[in-house]
């Protein structure tokens, strides 16, 4: 399968990978889709409008599943050479997450920041934006997290694959390169693992267990400051906010709310552990009726 890279990009790629690629036979365009999200420990509160969350006082981090994607992209580069581009959609605070990916070792970053995208809930719209970026920059393999832990939609990677007309492989928790154009993956399914094989180009969504993401080293952090990071808006991509932004969404969030609190539970009392065990069994049978 031919690479989807325009030939004018080859010179730029050679420059970006600092000639590391000279000894390798293949030039691989590796793209990682990444999202900045609230830290898992963050207290999430509903905003006044009731359609989103309060964004002040939140610690923002790279989506944990995207870390696996960045790591896998870096490993592909170490193996085959090439360039790792991180692409993200987000407001200006998301630049920090892109820099983190650069500090881990990615070569360049692209952030799409446009007011028309704020509050957008539809994975299709976001997928359209990302697919446009990918078509512009070229790609051989795309890695992304299996889901973002804010909206938990778990769709963007699959949507991007559809829009680009390439296969997708989801919930990948093991990956083996058979050669520079083919890979074999393990997908986590109910009760086991589905092992699939496919060629590039392909979109891979990453599940926990795929790899151990590296920490950004101090030299990495320093180098990241000089790596190219572009911020684009929709007009710059030739896209219309009315189509791919919130205004064009095919789904709409009506309301966001706190789930009802569970009723307070009860402690099982007893003089000994055996007594408590017996009481527990009885209450689960007679009161809760679950055994």
């Amino acid at each position: 399968m031919k690479s989807a890279i325009p030939s004018s990009r080859i010179d730029e790629r050679s420059r970006l990978d600092n000639g590391v690629n000279e000894e390798r036979r293949f030039i691989v365009d590796i793209v990682v889709l990444m999202k900045q999200v609230p830290d898992t420990e963050a207290a999430i509160k509903v905003n006044a409008a009731g359609t989103g969350i309060v964004e002040d006082d939140i610690k923002w981090v790279m989506n944990p599943y995207c870390e696996f994607a960045v790591e896998e992209g870096l490993r592909a580069k170490e193996r085959f050479g090439g360039v790792v581009t991180v692409v993200s959609i987000g407001p200006s605070r998301a630049v920090e997450a892109v820099r983190t990916a650069l500090a881990m070792g990615a070569d360049r970053g692209i952030l799409v920041d446009d007011a028309a995208l704020w509050g957008a809930s539809d994975s299709l719209g976001r997928g359209r934006v990302l697919a446009r970026v990918l078509r512009d920059i070229g790609f051989d393999v795309v890695f992304c997290g299996k889901q973002a832990i804010d909206d938990d939609m778990a769709q963007v990677g699959v949507v991007v694959a559809e829009l680009l007309g390439v296969p997708h492989l989801t919930f990948v928790n093991s990956l083996e390169w058979l050669d520079e154009r083919r890979l074999r993956v393990g997908r986590q399914v109910e009760g086991g693992t589905q092992v699939l094989e496919g060629g590039l180009p392909v979109v891979v969504t990453c599940q926990k267990g795929l790899n151990e993401p590296r920490y950004a080293s101090l030299p990495g952090i320093m180098k990241a400051k000089k790596k190219p990071l572009e911020v684009k808006d929709l007009a710059g991509l030739g896209l219309d906010g009315g189509e791919v932004g919130k205004a064009g969404d095919t789904t709409e969030v009506l309301r966001v709310e706190v789930p009802p609190a569970r009723q307070a539970g009860k402690l099982i009392e007893g003089e000994t552990a055996e007594e408590k065990a017996m009481r527990l069994a009885l209450v689960l049978r007679q009161e809760a009726k679950v055994i």
Binding site: D152, A273, M278
Partner: protein
């Protein structure tokens, strides 16, 4: 005009997956509310036609079946091709599927092909003025969102073990239509090498009705034997906290939590698990939660319906004996 509720059914090895009955039940309810018909589509390898008839007992008026060697095992390419072609032909109003590993792989791609978004992992569905509204957890279940479909078809995946499964009515019959399938090279680029199934015969965590879970308090992998014994007695499966998985005591596939699996059993017994926010994200919607932990301040007791503050090594063995006695009655 778009009409009808199409349920994408799932089978593996010629057996219909449990979540399909739940989605058919909910599909039937919504179809009735909309005054529209319920349809089912089933894909599989040679012989799948034999299991299609049962789908009619849930009220589908027509079951579309695609039987082809390329469909024996699930792959996104051929499956989305067949169902996408069908959807374009029959123009359903709603398309529903279980949010299983297959549903989460298939539905978003199908929706994008049809030019719409998809509501993932819904725990509740309703219709308002003809529009499908899904209730779904966000921020790992810290909040819930009500999301409405604005386009057509209206596509949603349903979380397993949440929707009520109705009783089938064997007097109901569906018309079965065999689909002619056609594939292009681009649909078949991925091939399955094998489907490696875990030994043990216990249900998958995401489908289990009872889960017995162990955390750091279990002190080592050798102690999980009693949890397995209890799980087997109760017809359930064994889970683990992230601490136990990171320590190498249990495989990643056993992890319950935000970066593990989200589970919805009737009964969740947490042994030696402190109950971090991330763990609660994975099991907080269990119907009944039991916590056994010798630390009275463990956060899990805030969420548990029944708590035992004691050494789990002293509680679990007698508990197993009591359960054994109760089961024998």
């Amino acid at each position: 005009m778009a009409s009808g509720v199409l349920v994408i059914c799932e089978q593996r090895g010629g057996v219909i997956r449990k979540v399909t009955w739940e989605v058919l039940s909910e599909g039937r309810r919504l179809a009735s509310q909309l005054g529209e018909e319920l349809f089912a589509v089933l894909l599989g390898g040679p012989g799948v036609m034999g299991v299609a008839e049962a789908l009619g007992h849930w009220g589908a008026v027509r079951v579309y079946v695609a039987e082809d060697g390329e469909l024996s095992d699930y792959r996104g390419g051929p499956y989305v091709r067949v169902i996408g072609d069908l959807a374009r032909r029959i123009g359903p109003n709603l398309i529903l599927m279980g949010a299983s590993s297959t549903g989460k792989d298939l539905a978003p791609r199908l929706a994008a092909r049809l030019g719409v978004g998809c509501l993932s992992d819904c725990v509740g569905l309703s219709v308002r003025d003809g529009r499908l509204v899904g209730r779904r957890p966000i921020y790992a279940g810290k909040l819930y969102a009500e999301v409405m479909c604005k386009g057509v078809p209206q596509v949603a995946t349903l979380r397993p073990n949440v929707f009520e499964r109705l009783e089938p009515d064997v007097s109901l019959r569906a018309e079965v239509e065999r689909l002619e399938v056609q594939f292009d090279e681009v649909d078949l680029r991925v091939r399955q090498v094998e489907l490696r199934e875990e030994a043990g015969g216990r249900p998958d965590l995401t489908e289990a009705e009872v889960i017995v879970s162990g955390g750091r308090g279990m002190k080592g992998p050798e102690n999980y034997g009693m949890l397995e014994e209890l799980a087997d007695l109760l017809g359930g499966t064994v889970g683990a906290s992230r601490a136990a998985v990171d320590a190498g005591w249990r495989p990643q596939s056993d992890q319950v939590g935000q970066t593990g699996k989200v589970v919805t059993p009737n009964l969740y017994i947490a042994c030696g698990i402190s109950g971090s926010i991330q763990h609660l994200a994975g099991m907080g919607t269990s119907k009944v939660i039991v916590a056994i932990n010798k630390d009275p301040d463990a956060p899990i007791f805030q969420k548990a319906d029944y708590g035992v503050v004691d050494d789990l090594f002293k509680v679990v063995p007698p508990f197993i004996e009591e359960v054994r006695k109760l089961k024998a009655e």
